[in-house]
Symmetry: C2
Subunit: 318 residues, 2 copies
């Protein structure tokens, strides 16, 4: 079975770990979000790709969900001693090495997809990880800061401001001119199932879908497309998805996220058992809906979610 | 008193520490060698400038003579795990931060001299440190390797091969088209004394003198130019200067180095007491020569060497 998964960072990565356990024989292609990539200290940092790579490769800081295990911070301390910021983005020494290798390869002319493949040669994530695009796409958030409207990089909004200021719009700058990375459309075209993990529907999956050609390829693939709600009990399971949903005018409910994707794209939708009452609304919108436990409390619990998603896909197919 | 010092790495840096102790009121400008600069992992590394900066700024690894004190090696370990080399150049985590800041500033368009000034704002070395040039000059060594003549970067010859293969020539690639960095010629023109510390006469001071305009400015400055022999008892005090002296056809003796510089450049020369017999040969070449202890065993011993150099300069002036 060939499965394509669109993934953001922590939520996508953890879901993928469960999916690998649930479908060890499947060929999994992950289309990773690069809209939250950022240049820091002259280095290209790809937080979502790295979170997937480190999580599936056994290098992730488990409690934190991002960054490296057994991390040290000598480089960051030194940069601060030089007065060079930003200090709000916590890069550890081991993580720095990844960005140094990536930046060196990009400087040598390799596209991000080739760089990602090279990095994965070490991590052996057990999936094929492809960035959504080799072109630069940068998610900016229009915020209200000190009484003024101002566009800031997503990471500045998310990490520095902790999504605590009003957001009026989310713009994937550069997306309209970006091309899907080599292999993305091919993987979608050859997929048996396409899954949307409980990643952020706006700044993770939404950004991937904003790359011209990807949404269309998924809609036209003629295979089941099943998603898992990142909203449980009207609140994001993790992170601050409610804030960016508000910015795009979508309610923070499991049903609203499903209808935001729409039946043109989505065939099936899993909501948590606490949101079972939302199922009729989702089904009324033409999307088959099941309520199952959606908390990724362990690899086994997550594997069970993946099994439910695959079962729903088979139900849709039949 | 305004003193200009041409400096390589360890020898130059240690001498400067003694000079600062000997002449605390002096305005010292250091023209640093950049011929051994190297790009590693996409980062610009300036070993000699950093050795001077770290030594005078209190951050040097004392025993080693280069690199940072209390250093860790997480980044290097990770790069090795990615299979990214070279592994023979030992960059520590703290040191990496310096190269990251430098590379970022150069990428933003700042010349190396401005970058060096910015880095020194943190280290407060107590001297004005200027790279010899903002232009790229790279010392290559023509070596015999596996039966073939091959040009390698100086660092490859020095660090990887440990100067253990025959060297036939030393070429400061790019020097002929390089311009002295802003402030270099001005400092030489305004100097009261110019000193050559016991740095490598070929790949450190020789490279600085290869930048068109610097040798001429020193020769024309009309002030005493005094050097200290890096060769004591026919062997380099430290490092492998004998190997590169042989490559340029100069004997490894205190006298031969003095006549290699020549009386057109050098007015005074200090040799170690064990080389006192060399003095007549140096004086016969038109260079005033004194024999004094030249081992930099402590800051005080080094300060005494600096005092002897300044005294010889006054003797020459009178």
């Amino acid at each position: 079975m060939r499965i394509v998964v669109l993934a953001g960072g922590i939520g996508g990565a953890r879901f993928l770990r469960g999916l690998k356990a649930a479908a060890p024989e499947a060929e999994i292609t992950v289309v990773g979000n690069t809209g939250d990539d950022i240049h820091l200290f002259g280095l290209k940092v790809c937080p979502d790709l790295d979170t997937v790579m480190y999580t599936l490769g056994g290098g992730i800081h488990e409690e934190q969900g991002w960054g490296r295990a057994e991390e040290t911070f000598a480089v960051k301390e030194e940069l601060a001693a030089y007065g060079v910021g930003p200090e709000w983005f916590g890069l550890g020494d081991r993580d720095f090495a990844t960005h140094i290798v990536r930046t060196q390869m990009i400087g040598a002319g390799y596209p991000l997809s080739a760089v990602t493949e090279a990095l994965c040669a070490r991590w052996q994530p057990g999936v094929r990880l492809i960035p959504m695009s080799d072109d630069r796409v940068e998610t900016h958030v229009l915020v209200e800061l000190d009484g003024e409207r101002k566009a800031v990089h997503f990471q500045e909004y998310w990490v520095r401001l902790r999504a605590s200021v009003p957001a009026h719009a989310v713009v994937p700058v550069g997306a309209e001119g970006a091309k899907p990375a080599p292999g993305v459309l091919e993987a979608i075209g050859e997929a048996d199932v396409i899954l949307f993990p409980p990643s952020n529907p706006v700044v993770s999956i939404g950004t991937i879908l904003a790359v011209p050609g990807i949404r269309e390829a998924i809609a036209d693939a003629g295979v089941p497309v099943v998603g898992l709600s990142p909203i449980v009990g009207d609140a994001p399971v993790r992170g601050m998805a409610d804030k960016v949903l508000a910015a795009v005018g979508v309610e923070s409910t499991a049903a609203a996220v499903a209808t935001h994707y729409g039946s043109g794209l989505l065939d099936g939708w899993l909501v948590d058992t606490v949101d079972a009452a939302a199922a009729p609304e989702v089904e009324a919108a033409g999307i088959r809906c099941r309520a199952v436990p959606l908390l990724m409390e362990s690899v086994e619990a997550t594997a069970q979610m993946a099994r439910e998603a695959l079962a729903l896909a088979e139900e849709v197919r039949a």
